[in-house]
Symmetry: C2
Subunit: 105 residues, 2 copies
């Protein structure tokens, strides 16, 4: 019944790999493994739900439409409120980046 | 706006330290820092909400009323459904154990 988020990582070099951990009414938790991916130029996420993001391995940069950028490393977390437009500017090119994300609200 | 769950840890040697990260309707996320604590003998959590538990540092043992025990180390996670009775059997005595927990549903 226990599972591990950091061992036996899938190969994400060809594209992000999303694994659903928990799906409940109004709430889901996922692991995302990235390797070098970022959002397409000019693309913004505009989500109906709030998102909690915690970085578990690797590193990444988030960019917000208001101009803020946020670098995430091990243990860094941020909550992105619904409809706050954002994108993934970059993830580590040479190692897996592992995110825990929860969507709710 | 970014915060880190693993740096500047509070001293939990005298008691668990709970830090609320996100509180939303029907959903909350917390960091718990333990050091050597376990639930009192004979005590069982019996919660109205589901709980997602992810271990970020240290190690811990969970015990369930049906007799199962689960050892959690870095990256291990488990979902404990509402009203599944459980207790913390032990946490690492000599280093902080850091949990990310979410309650929902």
């Amino acid at each position: 019944m226990t599972k591990n988020l950091l061992t036996s990582l899938p190969d994400a070099s060809a594209g992000e790999v999303v694994t659903s951990l928990v799906t409940r009414e109004g709430m889901r938790i996922e692991r995302i493994v990235s390797q070098g991916q970022g959002s397409p130029e000019g693309f913004w996420y505009d989500q109906a739900e709030h998102e909690f993001v915690l970085l578990l391995q690797g590193h990444a940069e988030l960019e917000f439409e208001d101009g803020r950028t946020v670098t995430l490393r091990l243990g860094d977390w941020v909550e992105i409120e619904a409809h706050v437009r954002h994108r993934v500017r970059s993830t580590a090119p040479d190692e897996p980046t592992v995110w825990l994300v929860a969507f709710y609200g």
